[in-house]
Amino acid sequence: MIDSSGEVQESFTKIDKLIHEPSRYMLMAYLYVVEVADFLFLLRQTGMTWGNLSAHLSKLEAAGYVVIEKEFVGKKPHTTVRLTDQGRNAFEEYRGNMKRVLDNLPV
């Protein structure tokens, strides 16, 4: 049986560093509550710069957490982003681990 401090330590080690970064956490949170969002929507909601948003999404895409689809609407490019099942599970697990860590901290 793991004691409280052991649980905290275990939860700490399980925390997904990729999601833990505030900007990426915010992106994951937005994508968690919607089915799909376009690049511009995420840009407006998060207040990031184009380059910043692009870089964070690339990291999430490389981890298999999001799918980025590019298409053309007329002659204009349009990028949509959605959370994969793997990303959704990772996000839920991250939240669970963070909650356990925070709940077990001494007041």
Binding site: V36, L42, G51, L102
Partner: protein
């Protein structure tokens, strides 16, 4: 971090983007205005024409005006089902009440209080629906719209203002509010093109 960024708060922000451009205010205002004009001109089809005509126009305008400025997000399937279910329930309740009133009216068995207070009850129901939208979408200014709609009947009942003018007045004010919000929205969010800025991803 988990406590700082609440998912509910994010969901609320996403819902609010739907109303940020003021187009749904304009839609509601024009619909109410249409109702007033239909009573004034006795053209009973006007609210229906206004409702469908403006509804589809608003969607078209959103694609052209709103999405290039603040982007687009589709709610999750669960959220969409919840929203649809709410509006179906609301529609059924309104329809049942409408049928009940029409039948009572038709067979001449309407209670006197219904005849006396019909404008108040009718506007009250419309206002209640708008309040529900305000509550579900958490857009507080829709409570003001509901109050304006209800006030139209109050003015009619106690100040002798013609019922249709209450609708026309409330509808016009709501349209003006919507136009004001739209102007602020257009100034706040210039159109953005993905092309150049997003090219570093390609």
């Amino acid at each position: 971090m988990v406590e700082e960024i609440s998912l509910k708060e994010i969901q609320r922000k996403v819902y609010m983007t739907f109303f940020e451009d003021g187009l749904w205010d304009i839609f509601l205002g024009l619909f109410i205005l249409g109702w007033g004009l239909s009573i004034l001109t006795e053209a009973v089809y006007l609210p229906g024409v206004f409702f469908t005509g403006i509804y589809f126009t608003i969607w078209g305008i959103k694609k052209w005006l709103t999405y290039p400025r603040i982007g687009y997000a589709r709610f999750s399937a669960t959220s969409r089902r919840r929203i649809t279910a709410r509006f179906i329930i609301l529609g059924v309740v309104v329809m049942l009440v409408g049928v009940m009133v029409a039948v009572m009216w038709g067979i001449g068995k309407r209670p006197q209080w219904l005849a006396d207070y019909f404008p108040l009850i009718f506007n009250g129901m419309l206002a209640a629906i708008v309040c529900l939208v305000a509550y579900w979408a958490r857009v507080n200014r829709f409570y003001l719209h509901a109050a304006l709609i209800f006030l139209g009947a109050v003015f009619h009942m106690w100040l002798g203002v013609r019922w249709e003018f209450g609708f026309i007045g409330a509808g016009s004010i709501i349209v003006l509010i919507g136009v004001g919000i739209l102007v602020i929205f257009l100034r706040k969010y210039p159109k953005m093109v993905e092309e150049a800025q997003n090219s570093d991803r390609q």
